[in-house]
């Protein structure tokens, strides 16, 4: 264009009245954006292990169901022991990962008898679940959940999810990824220390 005087040296018409609308709007936007960036920068990627559930501290919802082997199961019968309630499915890779650890945990606590492991089939066929348990050498009771009602009662969103229930029947912990035997023991120890 023309090589005349630089535009910002030309008499400006806007700010003659002293208003700097653009500047203040821009500064305000920058502040909001800075807050947004700070928020986004400090968010961890969405994958946590121990997560909040509204059931924490509440009485564990009752479970009355049929086991894979055809027997009846009542959760109430397990009062007095720590109960690890594990929702799983045969098609779920983290469930497959945690299975050996669950076997270890069950074996370690069989003798003292202080903690029991219960499995709940989540959105899977009975045949597949049975095959899964058999192939991993699982010996603990596993119940089927027709219609997903037990999962609903516990607010399960997807396998694997594990609930720790105290001897008095209170839900004390909720883990929503693959667990290890050490994780479970840690949770029990922490809950004991807290007097639950």
């Amino acid at each position: 264009m023309s090589t005349g005087p630089a535009p910002d040296a030309a008499p400006a018409v806007g700010p003659r009245r002293g208003r700097h609308t653009a500047r203040w709007t821009a500064v305000a936007s920058l502040v909001v954006m800075a807050a947004l960036i700070a928020l986004l920068a400090t968010r961890p990627p969405a994958a946590a292990t121990e997560v909040y559930t509204p059931l924490l501290g509440q009485q564990a919802p009752p479970v009355t169901a049929t086991t894979l082997s055809g027997g009846r199961f009542h959760l109430a019968a397990y009062r007095g022991r720590w109960v690890v309630l594990n929702f799983f499915a045969s098609w779920c890779p983290p469930c497959q990962d945690e299975e050996p650890d669950l076997v270890t945990f069950a074996y370690q606590h069989r003798a003292p008898g202080d903690a029991a492991l219960i499995g709940v089939v989540y959105d899977d066929t009975t045949a597949a679940a049975r095959a899964f348990e058999r192939s991993s050498g699982a010996t603990w009771p596993t119940v089927i959940d027709p219609g997903g009602q037990i999962a609903l009662r516990y607010g399960v969103r997807g396998p694997p999810e594990t609930f720790l229930i105290s001897p008095s029947g209170t839900v004390v912990a909720h883990l929503d990824s693959a667990v290890t035997a050490a994780d479970l023991d840690q949770q029990i120890a922490a809950a004991r220390a807290a007097g639950l």
Binding site: M1, S2, A6, P7, D8, A12, V13, G14, P15, R19, H20, T21, A22, R23, A26, V27, S29, L30, M33, A34, L36, I37, L39, L40, A41, T42, R43, P45, A46, A47, Y52, A89, W91, C92, P93, Q96, D123, G158
Partner: protein
């Protein structure tokens, strides 16, 4: 070999971007146009680098070269060829490669388009900005998101194959590339906006020059989003054509700002107003594309669309910060001095309508951004999760959508500068009549719900108003002897067609969401029942298996034709079984079939979900009209420069091939008498009542705006 080739391409792109930027920067600082012009050639080198890297990746995919980690994770020997090729953008680092390829293409096109003004500092700054953006993305590919990283350890015999939901539908070959062509395309207008602010040369029609680029990018983005909606509709798991999923929202945020810009830039062309506002819109559009890239790739948001989280989240967020600080900072520094001195004569004018349009679109963007980001804010404060889902967005966007329908009806009938209610009443009488007629007909036809009837009524109003504009333009063109078809092309007329497409989509949305009904039936094999007005026959169950999918399908006849195959499918061995629907689609409604429950024993009853949604196919038809309209809008007008006043005469019809005006938006060093700001049009015949009915439209039939 592929890895080496790929790394070479990426490094070439990176080095060319950095060196090109340095060369141009030197030329600008030292005020040497020759040096600035020399920076052009690096665009070709960046493109070369991107092409080499892409060729290397495609070669690796097609030859199943599992020594490259990306190929091992996203391809397998049994993957069909189409999904092998599209595997390039099915995962994170490959998608960055696609981004780089599209970006380098746009940069080359931009440098080519402005090659005659390459020594101009404004073009130089714009090229510098694009090189900087390109350097960032190639740096991502060179480091954290390396697509050509080799497998550590021994090379696997077979790969994992792409994500199962990305192997099922050929739309995967169209939706992501079109989306990227849209999102990446906003880089060029952004570069020119920054250049305008830096050089202070805000009002010479540079915005006009880049308006076409914005329209092109906007068009691609629109098509990309529509195809994504269509794909979502066909594949369950993403629940319908629009779910207000965070990643969907991230792609529509730039679209909202770009739409606002496409309207308000017309005010700038005609009246020279809103210059700084338009720059802000362009900067916002580009910033939102970077924010969207961050949200999709950082793992901050869980979504079926999201790529796996990785380290590049932090880098993308940092880049977003740089972009925002640069753009907003420049406006803070320079904006007030560059504001235009003119004013708007009356709120009841086309300028006023465009301003209201901008307000509504920006408000929509605020709502969508807030709703998307709020769950993160809540989780940071309360350490619990909250969901902001479809009911929230629907509730807030409905009134805005209805208001926009009204604006679409009134806006085209409003003259520039000032209108009286009398003029408006005369022009809108027939369209209003059409709208009321539609309302009455729909109530008589049994449509329930205030929102639906209102949407139909306002849709009819808007459609009739836009059709009226087209008819007037065609008649005017015919009267001027240049062919009635001229009344259908050009920016304004194409815009009318786009509006009609939007109206069709709005009507379809209203019908599908508020008039749909759902039922469930349980049927034994070979039985028939009537539900929701449809006759459903369940024939039998079959099991199908293919390398990627094992499914139990229910063969269902709808009103005697079919069979449709809703199924419960499992993709791969280790995934949750998902329902895959079948759709019986015709002009009036879609019957959406799902398998809700499988029988416990064979021969037992199957639960089938039947959803009847009216007018869903109108969504896709409306989308097609929209795209047609944007193509029509891109046809250059034969009349004049957009900066000429409304009353400027048409070029003489005998000036040759009539295409001479194609260069009407060329800007840069004037080669003749100064192309200064046009004198104000004489106010007498046109001011008070707005343009005389029909005459202004007729005088500039092609592309009148």
């Amino acid at each position: 070999m592929n890895a080496t080739l790929g790394h070479t391409g990426v490094l070439l792109g990176l080095v060319a971007s950095i060196v090109g930027a340095a060369v141009i920067a030197t030329g600008l600082v030292r005020k040497r146009p020759a040096t600035v012009r020399a920076g052009q050639v690096y665009a070709a080198l960046i493109l070369l680098g991107a092409v080499v890297a892409t060729v290397a990746m495609q070669r690796a995919l097609i030859t199943h070269d599992f020594s490259i980690a990306f190929v091992a994770e996203n391809n397998s020997r049994s993957t069909p060829l189409l999904y092998t090729i599209t595997g390039m953008w099915s995962a994170l680092s490959g998608s960055i490669l696609l981004w780089g390829l599209v970006l380098s293409g746009y940069i080359t096109a931009m440098v080519w388009r402005f090659r005659r003004q390459a020594g101009d500092p404004l073009v130089g700054w714009a090229t510098l900005v694009t090189y900087a953006v390109s350097a960032f993305f190639f740096a991502l590919m060179a480091g954290p998101a390396d697509p050509f990283q080799t497998v550590s350890g021994h090379v696997p015999a077979n790969g994992l194959g792409p994500n199962v939901l990305l192997q099922d539908n050929p739309l995967v070959a169209f939706h992501p590339p079109l989306l990227y062509l849209g999102l990446v395309g906003f880089t060029v207008p952004f570069a020119f906006a920054i250049a305008s602010l830096v050089t202070g040369r805000i009002g010479e029609g540079w915005q006009v020059a880049t308006r076409r680029w914005t329209l092109l990018a906007w068009g691609f983005l629109t098509v990309g989003v529509l195809l994504g909606a269509w794909w979502s509709y066909q594949v369950l798991g993403w629940g319908g054509f629009w779910g207000w999923d965070p990643v969907e929202n991230a792609s529509v945020l730039p679209w909202l700002c770009a739409t606002a810009y496409l309207h308000s830039v017309m005010v700038q062309e005609r009246r020279g107003l809103l210059r700084v506002w338009n720059l802000s819109l362009v900067i916002s559009t580009f910033s939102l594309t970077i924010l969207g890239t961050f949200l999709t790739r950082s793992g901050v948001i869980t979504s079926v669309h999201a790529f796996s989280d990785s380290d590049i989240g932090g880098l993308l967020l940092g880049f977003f910060g740089v972009v925002v600080v640069t753009g907003v900072g420049l406006i803070a520094w320079r904006g007030d001095r560059l504001r235009s001195p003119g004013g708007i004569d009356s709120p009841l004018s086309r300028e006023g309508a465009f301003l209201l349009n901008n307000l509504l679109f920006v408000l929509l963007a605020v709502i969508v951004l807030l709703g998307t980001v709020f769950p993160l804010l809540y989780e940071a404060l309360e350490h619990q999760q909250v969901t902001v889902g479809a009911p929230y967005f629907d509730a807030l966007t409905l009134p805005i959508g209805l208001t926009l329908l009204v604006l679409m009806a009134i806006g085209p009938a409003l003259p520039w500068r000032k209108a009286t209610t009398g003029t408006l009443a005369d022009r809108l009488l027939v369209p209003a009549g059409v709208g009321v007629l539609v309302a009455v007909v729909s109530v008589i036809a049994g449509v329930r719900g205030l929102g639906a009837v209102l949407a139909f009524c306002l849709g009819g109003f808007a459609a009739a108003s836009n059709v009226r504009q087209l008819v007037l333009a065609a008649r005017g063109a015919h009267r001027h002897g240049i062919g009635a078809w001229r009344g259908l092309v050009g920016r304004a007329n194409g815009g009318m067609v786009v509006h009609i497409g939007v109206v069709v989509i709005a009507v379809a949305l209203a019908a599908a969401t508020s008039l749909g009904h759902r039922g469930e039936v349980t049927l034994r094999p070979g039985t028939t029942t009537m539900i929701e007005g449809q006759q459903i026959t369940f024939q039998k169950l079959t099991t199908v298996s293919s390398p990627v999918r094992t499914a139990t399908e229910a063969l269902v006849l709808v009103n005697g034709h079919g069979p449709y195959r809703p199924a419960v499918s499992q993709y791969g061995a280790n995934t949750e079984p998902v329902g895959t629907p079948a759709i019986d689609s015709n002009v009036w409604h879609d019957v959406y079939l799902t398998v809700d429950s499988l029988p416990a024993s064979s021969g037992g009853p199957v639960g089938i979900g039947v959803t009847v949604q009216p007018l869903v196919s109108w969504l896709w038809v409306g989308g097609g009209i929209l795209v047609l309209g944007s193509l029509l809008a891109a046809v250059p007008g034969r009349r004049r420069r957009p900066t000429d006043p409304v009353s400027a005469p048409l070029p003489a019809l005998a000036d040759g091939n009539g295409r001479g005006r194609r260069r009407h938006d060329r800007v840069g060093p004037a080669v003749g008498p100064a192309v200064g700001p046009p004198p104000e049009p004489p106010p007498v015949p046109v001011a008070v009542d707005g343009a005389p009915e029909g005459s202004a439209d007729e005088r500039v039939p092609a592309g009148s705006s």
